[in-house]
Amino acid sequence: MSAKTPMLRMDGINKVFPGVKALTNVNFRLFPGEVHALMGENGAGKSTLVKVLTGVYASDGGTVTLEGKPIQITTPLEAQEFGISTVYQEVNLCPNLSVAENIFVGREPRKRGRIDWKEINRRAEELLSTRLNLNIDVTRELDSYSVAIQQMIAIARSLNVSAKVLILDEPTSSLDTNEVEQLFAVIRKLKSEGLAIVFISHFLDQIYEISDRITVLRNGNWIGEYMTKELPRLELVSKMIGKELDVLAEASSNKRIFKGGESFLQADQVYKKGKIQPFDLNMNRGEIVGLAGLLGSGRSELARLLFGADKSDGGTIKINGKKVSLNSPKQAITNGIAFSSENRKTEGIIGDLSIRENMILAIQGVKGWFRYIPRKKQNEIVDEYIKLLNINPPNPEQLIKNLSGGNQQKVLLARWLITNPELLILDEPTRGIDVGAKAEIQKLMLSLSEKGMSILFISAELEEILRTCQRIAVLRDHEKVSELENDNGITQQDIMKEMAGGM
């Protein structure tokens, strides 16, 4: 296969968004009759690369060569004319148009200058049944079909153009196992017909099942191109998250012995369709449980279910042995659960309010907005936490937007600590803050747990998890795959193996 010449090359592609360098010198090669997986964590730049290729975004440098000829693609329409078609994660068709029209709109067959509806319906039917083995009524509106079928129709639309390259950007994220198999059958058929296919997915199992070649991106950088057969899963994951394997082999230094407390929260087969598979989770008092997994593996989704920020589709949650329903954050807070979100900027702090006002928000919310907490009481609480958490500047009236990331994070933490929760969920509390603040937050977590608080700690940094947690739950592909005790010298590599799976 590698003897062939690439059908399409992208060399030295750069793309800058205001404030973000989304792509830096990225290369990409596509061979006919191959499925090429584009891998990287959320935000690595996969979709941006695809959108540069298909003319949705203009690139800020780099060249694209199709079949040996340099080309310039500036609009999606031009990309289609070059035979490059894309099926996006969210189905990008029009729900109000018929299936047939969705396939042909923009290039309808005509008779005497006007659109020939009979011909459209006939051809759509033929295309779907011969190339995708799909027999449906093409005159019905698109949104009368499931997402899986809509996805197929989107593929049919792109095949209808004289396709050379088919790009599938996370097409499987909302499909169930059967539907994925159906999609893969179609991909294999198209591949055997000589199409070059770009496949983006978070599901490692799917990548190893369907792809021939893998390109890895990380933070907008090109990490490398590999044959799938020659790249073990563990290596792929380490390339995606950017850690060398030998560094990860060091044993954990966690010497803390968990004294054990009774169970506080028990989740039993809780799930949400398309977000997280049914999982069990037990949180004991005074225990820190780590949640590890690649970005996009379902970590935040799991946490949001426990906090009632999303509503679960099934399963039971018990607190102190009693069944509770957690359908809203308010219910969760009443049950002693607090949640500090990973999106500090968008879901957490309110920049134009002071430290004091930001801290008092959650407790005021719990008490109800009409039982105003007297200013004197507020000041007492706030001063206490500013001291406890060593918040800088120690001025309660400072606007929070003027604080450093680490101090903002501490204010957020304080906001929840004031409510005196029994279970504290921390989603990436240490992301983007400096080393000193990081250490302080970790220390705080340990001392809180010693006082009997349970903490669910989500972090992308495995060494941090190993340093603080007694137990580690690992997620992969929206599923909780295992739970490790952090006592007998486990290594980051052990966790990564679970994150990668398939071994």
Binding site: T86, V91, C94, N96, G106
Partner: protein, 345 residues
């Protein structure tokens, strides 16, 4: 049969519209003697020809999820331009007509360009257009200008007999516009792009459809329709006046909504809007026949109908979403032998 109704839940609004028109017509015929005459029916068209023309343009705009508030003022401006050129500048009608048509078309083009290139809400842009056009009309003349011109007289007074009743030339113009509208909507790339934009603008862009060009064209077309309606209105009134058609944009929007077009875009028919206009006409006729009722009752009736229709559409959307969540995933894609056929169209 039931299943088919289920599938075509999106056609329900227009079926309701047609049903409502028929019901109201029957109601009028039973209550008032003389209501059932063919001339009363044809008068619906004669008295509302300009509304029908406006409604065709507005349907396209609303189908994309947009709105054009400037059309009423464009009617006033067109009537002023026509009256001024004919009576004061003494130009030939053969020059006056194309110039008048250009007025609204140009304004529509400008509206469309601002909406597209600066990505500003159509509501805001056409609101500005509303003030601008009305203001320009006053600039030409504050007083009303009566038109005494043989051509305008001819257009106003000619009766085209149909059986023992008649229609006006304006009705013919309106019906031609409707036919063109239907053709554009269903048999041209332009029309299908309009529907696609209403379904999902982002998808339409990614599907490679000429979204920008189409949006500009829609407002241009709406502006053209407004000017044409302005001329027809001028034939009807035989005067130019800056106060003409005050608030008529709202009547048109109401007709389009009552005609079954969703304000969120993507669903609706030109023919539906025509029936929407006729429903407004029937309400007016009924109130005239009633004799004692104030004509403001028309407004009240329209208000109630529009509200009812919007609530009704909302319920349909909610119901169809529920249905989708419950049932849509059950279609088994592996089932390749028995096709899921339910003939329609």
């Amino acid at each position: 049969m039931l299943k088919r109704l289920n599938i075509n839940y999106k056609h329900l609004p227009i079926l309701v519209t047609v049903g409502l028109f028929i019901l109201m017509y029957i109601f009028g015929s039973m209550r008032y003697t003389g209501f059932m005459s063919s001339q009363v029916f044809l008068n619906l068209f004669i008295n509302n020809a300009f509304l029908i023309i406006l409604a065709v343009g507005m349907t396209f705009v609303i189908l994309t999820g947009g709105i054009d508030l400037s059309v009423g003022s464009v009617i006033a401006l067109t009537s002023m331009v026509a009256a001024d050129l004919i009576m004061n500048a003494q130009l030939s009608p053969w020059l006056v007509i194309p110039i008048s048509l250009l007025v609204g078309t140009t304004l529509g083009l400008i509206n469309g360009c601002i909406i597209h290139f600066f990505n500003i809400q159509p509501f805001i842009v056409t609101l500005a257009g509303l003030f601008l056009a009305r203001g320009l009309a006053y600039l030409i003349n504050i007083e009303s200008i009566a038109i005494t011109d043989p051509f305008f007289d001819f257009m106003a007074k000619t009766r085209i007999p149909i059986g023992d009743s008649f229609i006006s030339i304006s009705v013919v113009i309106a019906l031609v516009v409707v036919l063109i509208g239907v053709y554009l909507a269903h048999y041209t790339n332009f029309g299908r792009t309009v529907y696609a934009i209403g379904g999902s603008e982002q998808s339409a862009v990614l599907m490679g459809l000429p979204v920008g060009r189409t949006k500009i064209l829609i407002y241009t077309f709406s502006g053209f329709c407004a000017s044409l309606a302005g001329l027809v209105f001028t034939f009807y009134m035989l005067s130019g006046y800056a106060l003409h058609a005050n608030g008529m944009e709202l009547d048109v929007i109401a007709s389009v909504v009552i005609g079954g077009t969703l304000l969120t875009g993507g669903v609706g028919y030109v023919a539906g809007s025509v029936i929407g206009v006729l429903i407004l006409g029937v309400i007016q006729t009924i109130i005239i026949f009633e004799g004692t009722l104030s004509s403001w009752w028309t407004k009240i009736a329209i208000g109630v109908l529009v509200l009812a229709f919007i609530v009704f559409q909302r319920i349909l959307v909610v119901r169809s979403n529920v249905k989708k969540a419950a049932g849509a995933n059950n279609v088994d894609i592996k089932e390749s032998s028995p096709p899921l056929k339910t003939k329609s169209m």
